[in-house]
Amino acid sequence: MSRGRLAIALIGLVLLVGGLAWGTAGSYGFGHYHALYGRIVARDSVPDRSATNAVSVTTFDYRGFDTLGEEFILFVSVAGVIVLLRRMRGESGRDESLLAEEDRRASESSRWLGLALVGPLLVLTVYIVAHGQLTPGGGFQGGVILMSAVAFVAVGGESVVLLRLRRASSGVELAESAGAAGFAMIGFGGLVATGTFFENFIAKGTSGLLTGGFIPLANIAVGLEVAGGLLVVISELFDQRFTRERS
């Protein structure tokens, strides 16, 4: 760091960090939150939606439109990664010899280890997504776990799985875009059924998995989108290793 930059940086940091500390210290003390907004949401989410996870109800219902934006931030960053890592003139395709080498390296035992891990992780995913409106977790967490099931396999020496996945990338993208479109359509469903965009148009249920109206559907859509989207990003980055520049 040059001396000029260091001087500017230090003055700026002292002012910024000091200012933030000074400002927050003027707020109420830690643990004394008292605003009505959170209390109303916590109090009403069970009567409103029969769903016991007030965070899920806030995320998908009270503030569902924010989550629509959030899902599309993820969606668009995946599109961005695809565009930014597209193959350019002068770059060769995938190096098949590297691929074959990778295939040899993947031993039989690690293959079985990977498969053995995938099963439990899939079950965990389904559980977490399905109980999103009741207990901690939901589509987002489940989606990442699903993605990491594949990642575990890759870490277990079976990185060739990612390449196979790459070949099936249209399928993964299909899942991803279906999730994003599905989430948007839930919003449109409210518009069609009740006349208000993002209104929860499905009966709230009484107890168990089918509570919260459209929240379980939203969790499934988000799960698909997140798992698909992250898989696309991971496999695009992975594919880069097998792309060579022609000199």
């Binding site: 996870n53 990442v144 776990i145 991971i234």
Partner: protein
Amino acid sequence: MNVLLALLLTLVGAAGTITVTIREPVRQTIAAGILSLLLALLFFALQAPDVALSEIVVGSIAIPLMLLLAIAKVRDQQTAVEGEAEDVGRGDER
């Protein structure tokens, strides 16, 4: 404010500082993963299990994975460049 929260907050602050000071990318990725785990523990202590779960899966799995793949690609590329440079150097000697 209880002891557990104070301890976790201190650990998060320290882990953040260490993560910034490590300059070697792979070790830094591991430090970032540890920071994420500590953050997740802190979020559990702050009664935010949903956020904690998200932070574990994103901060300790998804992001380190992306980082490691990118680091590997960057290393491949730079080794290739150095290799070429060495070839050129040897050519000059001859």
